[in-house]
C-alpha cells in the first residue's frame, strides 16, 4: 500500500470538510448559536447545484455561485423568521429553533425529493501523480476552499462589517448603543454561514452522490473540525478540516476502516480535554 | 497570631507585573483598607488570596496554613468570603436563594433550613428583605452590591474581602453601608476592604495599604496615609487642587446662571 496515496486523498477531502465546517463555526463563534440546521443547509446546497445542472443545464461551478448567493438570502430569511426572536433567550432556544428549521427542511425535502440518491454526472477527469490518481474536481474544490477562506478571513478581520460582527457577537446591547445595527449584522452573519454551508454542499455535489439526508454527516464532522481549529476562526476551520481529512485518509492505512470513527471521535474528545481552545489555540 | 499573612506575593499577566512582592499582615478583628490607583493590582491581590489566581511567588497564610494552590471553595470552607467588584449575582435564582448558597456552602456548612433563616436575617441586615423572592437578575446595581455583601456575610466568614462595595451608592447610602461594615466588625470578622470612596474607607479602616503598579507604596493608619506625599501624588490627587477646582466650578456655574 502506498502511504502517499492515502495522504493525498485525505488532504484533498480535508479542504472540503474545512469549508463545510466554516459556516458552522462562523455562526457559532460569532452569534453563539449552534446551528443544527447546518447539515440540512449543506444538503440544500447539493440539491441547488443538482437542480441547476440537471434541470437548467448550468455548469456546476456556475451553480455553486448561484447557490452561494441564494444561500446568503436564505440565511438572512431564516434568521429573521426563526432566530431573531430568541437570539437573546437562553442559548438552548436558538439551538432548538435551528433544530426546528432542520426538521422543516428535511421534512419538506423528503416529501418532495424522497431520499433517492442524486448524482451530478460531471467530471473533469483526473490527473495521475505518481501512484496517485487525483480527480480534478477535487483539486478545484480544494483551490476554491482556499479562496473562500481567504476572502472570509479578509472580510472578518479587515473590513468594518467583520469587526461589527465580532462586536455584536460579543455584546449585542453595547453594539446597538454604539450605532451598530445589530439585527442586520446578525442576519448577515447567519446569511454568511448559510452561504458557506451551501457552497460546501454544492462542491460536494460535484464529486459525491448524495441524498436529502447527506448533510447530517458533514454536520457532525463540522463539530469535530470546529474543535480542532478553534471555533469562529475561518482559517482554523480550514486547517481543522484538513487535519480531519488527513486523519480519516491515513488511519485506514494502519487499521481496519470500521475502527476509524472510534479513533476519530476518541481523539476528538481527547483534544477537547487537553486543548479545548482548539489545536490552533484560537481566541478564548 | 495573624489571621492572614501575605508574604512576598508576585503575580504576572503576560508581560504585565500585576503584583510584585506584596507583603502584609492582617490581625484578627481588624479592618484593612486597600487603596490604590486603577489597575494597581488590588482586585488581583484578592484573587490571589482566595485562590482564583496562583501567584508565581510568595505565600498566603490564612489561619496559619499556606493556602497557595488551594481551590477557592477550600478557602470558602475555611472561612474566607469575598464580594466581587463587578457583581456576579446568580441571576435566575431568587435573592434569598442567592444568599442561601453563601450560607450553605460557606464555613458553617449549614442545612437548607438554617440557611434560609440566616438568609432572611442577613437580608434584613442589608435592607433587601422585601426583595427576597425576586430574581436576583432584576435588581439594580446598588441592590446587587448589597446582595453580594449579604451572600458573603451569610457564609459567616472569619475573613471578609470587600471589593468596592460602596461604588455606585450615593452619600446617604454610603453612610448606611459604612454602618453595616462597622457592625460586621463587631462580630469578630476581619475585613479587607478595597475602596475608592476615600472619606468612607478612612473612617472605618484601622490600617491602610496602598498599592501602585503592583507594589505596596505605603502602609499605616488612615491619617498617616492621607498625609503621605507619595499617596497623594499617585492616588488622591493634590487636595488643594481639588478644592480649587471645586471652587472654580462653583463660581463658573454661579456666573452662567446669572
Amino acid at each position: 500500500m502506498d502511504f502517499f496515496a492515502f495522504l493525498i486523498d485525505g488532504l484533498l477531502i480535508g479542504f472540503v470538510y474545512g469549508i463545510a465546517a466554516m459556516g458552522l463555526t462562523l455562526i457559532w463563534g460569532v452569534m453563539n448559536v449552534i446551528n443544527l440546521s447546518h447539515g440540512a443547509i449543506i444538503t440544500l446546497g447539493m440539491f441547488g447545484v443538482y437542480l441547476a445542472f440537471a434541470e437548467l443545464g448550468l455548469h456546476p461551478y456556475l451553480g455553486i455561485v448561484l447557490v452561494g448567493m441564494a444561500g446568503l438570502l436564505t440565511g438572512m430569511v431564516i434568521y429573521a423568521v426563526a432566530i431573531h426572536r430568541v437570539i437573546n433567550a437562553p442559548h438552548l432556544s436558538t439551538l432548538l429553533a435551528t433544530f426546528a428549521v432542520n426538521m422543516i427542511i428535511i421534512g419538506i425535502g423528503t416529501a418532495y425529493f424522497t431520499t433517492n440518491a442524486r448524482n451530478v454526472d460531471f467530471s473533469l477527469g483526473s490527473v495521475k501523480a505518481g501512484p496517485v490518481n487525483i480527480q480534478v474536481t477535487r483539486l478545484v474544490a480544494a483551490a476554491f476552499s482556499v479562496a473562500v477562506t481567504g476572502s472570509l478571513y479578509f472580510f472578518l478581520y479587515r473590513t468594518k462589517y467583520g469587526k461589527y460582527i465580532r462586536a455584536v457577537s460579543n455584546n449585542r446591547e453595547a453594539a446597538e448603543l454604539m450605532g451598530i445595527p445589530s439585527a442586520f449584522i446578525l442576519a448577515l452573519s447567519f446569511g454568511l454561514g448559510t452561504m458557506l454551508a451551501g457552497i460546501a454542499g454544492g462542491m460536494i455535489a460535484t464529486f459525491f452522490p448524495f441524498t436529502i439526508l447527506s448533510g447530517g454527516t458533514y454536520e457532525v464532522k463540522s463539530f469535530v473540525i470546529g474543535v480542532l481549529g478553534g471555533i469562529g476562526n475561518p482559517l482554523g476551520a480550514l486547517i481543522g478540516g484538513i487535519l480531519l481529512g488527513i486523519f480519516e485518509g491515513v488511519m485506514p492505512y494502519f487499521t481496519e476502516t470500521s475502527w476509524v470513527p472510534v479513533f476519530e471521535f476518541g481523539l476528538f474528545v481527547a483534544i477537547l480535554l487537553f486543548r479545548p481552545q482548539g489545536l490552533l489555540g484560537a481566541k478564548k | 497570631m495573624m489571621i492572614l499573612q501575605v508574604k512576598g506575593v508576585s503575580k504576572r499577566f503576560g508581560g504585565l507585573q500585576a503584583l510584585s512582592n506584596v507583603t502584609v499582615d492582617v490581625p484578627p478583628g481588624q479592618i484593612l483598607g486597600l487603596i490604590g490607583p486603577n489597575g494597581a493590582g488590588k482586585t488581583t491581590l484578592f484573587n490571589v488570596i482566595n485562590g482564583v489566581y496562583k501567584p508565581e511567588e510568595g505565600e498566603v497564610i490564612f489561619k496559619g496554613k499556606n493556602v497557595v494552590g488551594k481551590k477557592p471553595y477550600r478557602l470558602a470552607h475555611m472561612g474566607l468570603s469575598r464580594t466581587h467588584q463587578i457583581v456576579r449575582p446568580l441571576k435566575d435564582l431568587t435573592v434569598r436563594e442567592n444568599v442561601m448558597v453563601g450560607a450553605c456552602f460557606g464555613s458553617q456548612n449549614l442545612s437548607l433550613g438554617k440557611a434560609a433563616r440566616i438568609a432572611d436575617e442577613v437580608l434584613e441586615f442589608v435592607r433587601l428583605r422585601e426583595r427576597a423572592n425576586q430574581l436576583a437578575g432584576s435588581l439594580n446595581v446598588g441592590q446587587k452590591k448589597r446582595l453580594e455583601m449579604a451572600r458573603s456575610l451569610a457564609a459567616r466568614p472569619n475573613l471578609l474581602l470587600l471589593d468596592e462595595v460602596l461604588a455606585g451608592l450615593n452619600p446617604t447610602e454610603i453612610a448606611q453601608m459604612v454602618e453595616i461594615v462597622k457592625e460586621i466588625r463587631t462580630r469578630n470578622t476581619t475585613i479587607i476592604m478595597i475602596e475608592h470612596v476615600m472619606h468612607a474607607v478612612m473612617k472605618v479602616s484601622d490600617q491602610m495599604l496602598v498599592l501602585d503598579f503592583g507594589k505596596p507604596i505605603a502602609y499605616g493608619t488612615p491619617s498617616e496615609i492621607a498625609n503621605n506625599p507619595k499617596v497623594i501624588e499617585a492616588y488622591l490627587g493634590d487636595s488643594s487642587l481639588a478644592d480649587q477646582f471645586n471652587a472654580e466650578l462653583a463660581a463658573k456655574s454661579a456666573a452662567t446662571a446669572e
Binding site: M1, D2, A5, F6, D9, G10, I13, I106, G107, T110, A111, T114, T115, N116, A117, R118, N119, D121, S123, S126, N133, Q135, I204, F207, F208, P209, F210, T211, L213, S214, G216, T217, V220, E248, G249, V250, M251, P252, Y253, E256, T257, S258, V260, P261 | -
Partner: protein, 402 residues
Amino acid sequence: TFPAKTHAQSERTITIGFTASQTGKYNVESTRQINGINLWIEQINGAGGITLSNGTVLKFETKFYDDESSTDRVQELYTRLVTQDGADFLISPYSSGLTDASALIAEQYGVVMLTAGAASDSTYQKGFTLVYQTYTPASRYLTGAVDLLAATDPDASRIAIVHENDKFSTDVANALNSYAEDLGYEIVLFEGYDSGTTDFAPFINKIEAADPDAILGGGHFQDGSTFARQLYEKDAGANMIALLVAPPEPTFAELGDAALGVVGPSQWEPLAQIDASKAEELGIEFYGPSSQEFTAAYMEMYDEEPSYHAAGGYMAGLLIQKAIEDADSTDTDDVAEALDNLDILTFFGRNSFDTSDDNHGLQVGHSMMYVQWQADGDELVKQIVFPFEAASAETVYPIGSE
C-alpha cells in the same frame, strides 16, 4: 364453518396494515414497496376481491403509518394497526431491525405478517410462527455473484469483501465470506465501513493494494452509488464489482459511466421471463400475473419502471391473497397453514417457506438474480446476467472491456 353462514352474500373488507418509512433513511425502498402494495390492492379489488366458498366477498384496503425508519415507535404503530384499525394481515416495515420489533406484535396478537425488505436470516430464527419472508434471505444475497465469477472466470481467485457496517450488510458479507472460502477463494480484504461514509478514497487505496479480481459487498443505496462512482473515478482495477441494493435501482443510471459494468443482486427484474411455462417445468402451480403483465400495470399506474422493492410489496400482497384462497378463510391459523404448505411460482419467482421450528418462515423457494449495467449505444441498460437461464445478456467481464 356452518352452512347457515353461506346464505348471506356478505362482503368484508380486509385491512392490510403496515408502517412505511416515509421519512428517514429507508424512504426510497419503502415508498416503492408501498407502490407495489397499492397496485396489488387496486388489482384485486378491481377483480372483485376474493370470494370464499361460504359466499363472503373479501375486499382489501391498506392502513399505514410513517415509522420514520426508526424502532422507537414501530411497536406502538403496529399495535395500533392491530387493535384499533383492525388490521387482518400485516406487512413488515422495511429493514430487519424494525421487522424484529414489529414481529413481536404480530405474534402477540396472532396476526400473520409477510415481510418484505427484512432480509436478515436471524429474524426467522427467533421462534416466530406467523412471520413469512418474501425475499431471498441475506445469506444468499451475494453468493450467486461468486457463482457468476466462478463461471465467467475460472482463473479468478482473489476476492475483496467490503461492506457497510450495519446489520443487513454484515449478515450478507459474513455469509458471502464463508461461501467464497468454501469454494476456495482467497479473501484478500474483509472490511466494513461506517454507515455515514461518503469518502471511500482511503478504502479504495486499500482495495487496490490487495489487488482482488472481484470486489463484492456494499450496503445501501447511498453508499453503494458513492462507492461505485469513486471506484470508477479512481480506476480501482478489479475485474468485477458487485454491490448490494444500489445497482438494481433504476436511478443508479444517474451515475453515468460509473454505473457501467457494476453487478448487483436483485430480488426481481422486469426483464425476467417468468410465466406459466416455467412453472410447468418445475411441476408447481403458477399464480398471479406474469412478469410482463405486472411491469405493464405498474408502469401504467406510476409511470416508472418497477424496482424489486416495488415487486416485493406487490408480492407480499399476492402471497396473502393466495394463502386466503388456499385456506378459504381469513382465520390466522388457516392462513398460516396455507402459507406453510405453499410452493408456487409467481412473476416474482418461486416461493416457499421453511417450516422447521428453527427457521420458521424463512424464504427457501426464491433466489436472486444478478443485473449488470451495460452500454447500449448512448444508453445505459440494466441486463440480467445470472442465473444464465434467466439471463438477458452476456456478462461483461472484465469490467470496462465492452
